[in-house]
């Protein structure tokens, strides 16, 4: 690695196999004639980048304002933070059809590009803002009391206070959260462009639409090129934007212990704590990978940690059963409500819902059930792949040196960008059902992988030594030490994976280009959601599917994930 003068130091860290891999791939692609498609792909990509950037600017402004008011005014805090909590649990893609409708109608009509552009930017904005707003809020609340007193004592107000106290205190968190936001943002941007292109006659120039168009035409090579260009851009951003930004933000990091001799590394989120102990490039790689995989779904752990600080009692089995029963009852009641609602709507409003749509609405419970099964199946596959992979890369440092960066690059491809490719490749061979499950897997697996890996690395080496010295080896070692030690990380990975899974699912159940027969279609809530958007007079279907999905996700969060996380963090946490 060292003796190759033609490689930049950055490149050799990202592609440690002497930078050979990308050139090998590119040269083989070149012989297959990918060059003509490159300009289109790149230009489309630049449009997408522009949208991301705009959405980010709006998110930044929003989160600074929102976080500031939530942190400074008690009255606001009581309202704003719970709202943010709810907003974070909602699968964003579900709202997208509604957003398109709204923006197209008020943004210049179906033939203008403004509406769809605004819709896409809005979607990305909603995916980016919540975690950034929380970051601002928590930074401000985390300011040491004395510092706040000093600010008041010297009568610092207005712009001076904002510039010298408020803004700098959020920089560290914001830079980290911005990276998370961008990762999630790519996912939703591509999804937005895909959905938008399916539904209207106007094609929004962008990488998502590019991929969809190529998928419709069955051009696998072009698809690969598009994905490759996206990956290159993400890596470039990582090297030339995020890393320097991270270094600049160092200045704003501080530890809150009094008269500390030197600054301990204060971690931006609890997840990064294990990394304190591991040095070197591999750490940075895993952290970057983790960042890549974490999106706003991380919020559940944040919100639980926030509330659970007051010593939440451990739910006993009876309480869990109670939760589950209540949740199921709630969902059942919801379905009854739907049935009633549809009837009432039909009789009240003169405009009857077409019988076909009513029939579709009737399939909602079944569709929801199928979708749940799909996500669970995808979860199972993700566990089966990511656990062994993580354990392997954890135990074999040499393999990890090139394996981890490779995984990181693969993980940086948003699942939504992979979808068209997978659809084209797999649908013909294994059918749409398997394809959609596979797509959901791509949207879940990296959360699991990076969280488990970070959990494994967080096992204090002295614990392992102690275990071995007592003669524990092999399976018993895993049972007694490895698994319990990584349990919290696994749960967090599962929570975030499901979050990613729900969003991916919505896209994965239905893929169509304009008026042609759908490339992928399987019965499920995501399919109904998209159909509700695409068909005429099917708004009722859209609304019902969306709220059903939200309800189920929120119920699962409250009944399964939050209690589980609380219990696990109580019992298994290292500190």
């Amino acid at each position: 690695m060292e003796g190759h003068p033609w490689k930049s130091p950055y490149l050799s860290k990202v592609f440690p196999i002497g930078g050979v891999a990308p050139f090998a791939i590119l040269s083989s692609l070149a012989t297959a004639g990918w060059v003509p498609i490159l300009p289109t792909a790149t230009i489309d990509l630049l449009y997408s980048l522009g949208r991301m950037f705009l959405a980010y600017l709006v998110s930044l402004a929003f989160s600074l304002v929102y976080g500031y008011f939530a942190a400074t005014e008690r009255a606001f805090e009581r309202v704003l933070i719970p709202i943010l909590d709810i907003l974070q649990s909602v699968p964003i893609l579900g709202f997208f059809p509604v957003a398109i409708d709204f923006f197209v109608r008020y943004g210049g009509g179906p033939s203008s590009l403004i509406g769809p552009n605004l819709a896409a930017i809005f979607l990305v904005f909603t995916s980016m803002s919540w975690n950034m707003a929380f970051g601002v809020y928590e930074s401000l609340k985390g300011l040491p009391l004395e510092m706040r007193e000093a600010t008041e004592s010297f009568c610092s107000t207005g712009w001076q206070r904002f510039r010298r106290v408020i803004l700098p205190s959020t920089v560290n968190r914001l830079v980290y959260n911005s990276q998370l936001s961008w990762t999630g943002g790519w996912f939703f941007l591509v999804a937005a462009e895909i959905i938008q292109t399916s539904s209207s006659t106007v094609t929004l120039p962008g990488i998502g639409s590019f991929l969809l168009v190529q998928a419709h035409a069955g051009h696998t090579l072009a698809l690969l090129t598009g994905i490759a260009v996206l990956v290159v851009l993400i890596v470039i951003l990582d090297i030339f934007v995020w890393r320097p930004l991270g270094r600049w933000a160092e200045r704003y990091r501080y530890d809150t212990t009094p008269s500390g001799e030197s600054d301990a590394r204060s971690s931006p989120s609890g997840m990064a704590t294990p990394f304190r102990r591991v040095a070197g490039t591999m750490v940075r790689t895993v952290v970057t990978g983790l960042r890549r995989a974490q999106t706003p779904f991380l919020s559940i752990t944040q919100s639980v940690r926030r509330r659970g600080r007051g010593g939440a009692s451990r739910p006993r089995t009876r309480t869990i059963v109670r939760y589950a029963v209540e949740g199921a009852l709630l969902v059942a009641a919801w379905f009854v409500l739907i049935a009633i609602g549809v009837q009432v709507y039909q009789t009240l409003v003169g405009n009857p819902i077409p019988a076909t749509v009513v029939a579709q609405i009737a399939t909602v419970p079944m569709a929801m059930g199928l979708s749940i099964l799909r996500v669970v199946a995808a979860f199972g596959i993700s566990v089966a792949i990511s656990l062994p992979l993580a354990i392997y890369l954890w135990r074999h440092a040499r393999a990890a040196r090139w394996g981890l960066p490779l995984v990181q690059i693969v993980a940086s491809v948003p699942a939504t960008a992979l979808f068209p490719l997978l659809a084209v490749v797999f649908v013909r061979n294994v059918g749409p059902e398997v394809t959609s499950v596979l797509v959901v897997v791509t949207g879940m697996i990296w959360y699991l992988f990076f969280n488990v890996l970070s959990g494994l690395r967080g096992i204090p080496p002295d614990l392992e030594e102690a275990a071995r010295s007592f003669g524990l080896g092999g399976r018993r070692l895993h049972r007694r030490l490895t698994f319990p030690a990584t349990y919290p990380a696994f749960v967090t990975g599962a929570i975030t994976a499901f979050g990613g899974g729900w969003n991916t699912l919505i896209l994965a159940e239905y893929l169509q280009y304009q008026n042609s027969p759908p490339i992928v279609q399987v019965p499920g809530i995501g399919e109904l959601l998209q159909l509700g958007n695409l068909e005429s007079h099917a708004t009722a279907l859209l609304v019902v599917s969306l709220f059903t999905l939200i309800l189920v996700v929120v119920v699962i969060n409250e009944v399964v994930w939050k209690p589980l996380y609380r219990r696990v963090v109580d019992k298994y946490h290292f500190d």
């Binding site: 004395e146 008041e152 010297f154 010298r164």
Partner: protein
């Protein structure tokens, strides 16, 4: 009187009802005085300092500065904090300039003022350093410079030396005394909150001794010893003893007479009174 604290009561709502921290604290600060406030933990000394500056309001009672009630944060006072309260992302220079910036002084004037107080507090050469690069003693100097730069009439110090090692604290104490004595430099009066009785007697003209919670002023003990204070002088020991027994017994005692305090007024106290020596 420079500052009048009159019958100040401070209470907080607690989990099991209201917690009364201070119940009728009364004393005054004279012009140019160095006054220490000592007392057991939890008696509200630090809270009292914040009430005096106006960072917080008493539940009842009044605090007056130059005969006017303290309503908002008083700009003629400045505070030095126990854990320095410096902004880690600002350089020494920027930290010292903080209060002046807040008062919207023009930049050139700020620059000159900052330079003056950086040299006064011995920070020359460290202007561009960040707090994390400094030792505890240097950080507190920055805190001191920041407070002095706004030229307050009263310097409020909240256990400023307790986070420092003994040697550094000693050095800084001397410096603070020098600054206070210097008529060309602020402040006029200094209010020092500390749990270190020796420190209080070394530095102050008077020591306000507070009782346990709900606290009130047990006594304002004058320190009439010549400066610089000789810690080995028997009078010094006697004063220390006196203040110490005041705190531990929580009983109002007779004026300094050379014998250990004998209770002059019956004061309910759960602690057994020691027989006179």
């Amino acid at each position: 009187m420079l500052i009048d604290v009159e019958n100040v009561v401070k209470s907080f709502p607690g989990r099991h009802g209201t917690i009364i921290i201070m119940d009728g604290v009364t004393f005054s600060v004279r012009d140019g005085e160095f006054l220490s406030i000592v007392g057991p933990s939890g008696c509200g000394k630090s809270t009292l300092l914040r009430l005096i500056q106006g960072l917080d309001k008493p539940t009842s009672g009044q605090i007056r500065f130059r005969d006017r009630p303290v309503e908002a944060v008083c700009q003629e006072m400045a505070m030095v904090f126990q854990n320095f309260a410096l902004y880690p992302w600002l350089t020494v220079r920027e930290n010292v300039a903080f209060g002046l910036e807040a008062r919207r002084w023009p930049p050139e004037r700020i620059a000159r003022q900052v330079e003056r107080y950086i040299s006064v507090t011995g920070l020359v050469g460290f202007e561009e350093a960040y707090p994390r690069e400094l030792s505890g003693g240097m950080r507190q100097r920055v805190g001191l410079a920041r407070a002095l730069a706004v030229e307050p009439s009263v310097l409020l110090m909240d256990e400023p030396f307790s986070a420092l090692d003994a040697l550094t604290a000693e050095g800084l104490r001397d410096e603070v005394l020098q600054l206070w004595k210097d008529p060309t430099l602020p402040p006029e009066a200094v209010l020092l909150v500390t749990h270190n009785i020796e420190e209080a007697i070394t530095m102050s003209d008077r020591v306000v001794v507070m009782s346990r919670r709900p606290s009130r002023v047990l006594e304002c003990v004058p320190v009439d010893l010549p400066r610089p204070r000789d810690r080995k002088h028997p009078d010094f020991y006697e004063l220390m003893d006196r203040v110490y027994s005041l705190i531990t017994e929580g009983v109002r005692s007779t004026p300094l007479s050379g014998s250990a305090g004998v209770p002059a007024t019956a004061d309910p106290s759960p602690v057994e009174r020691r027989p006179p020596s």
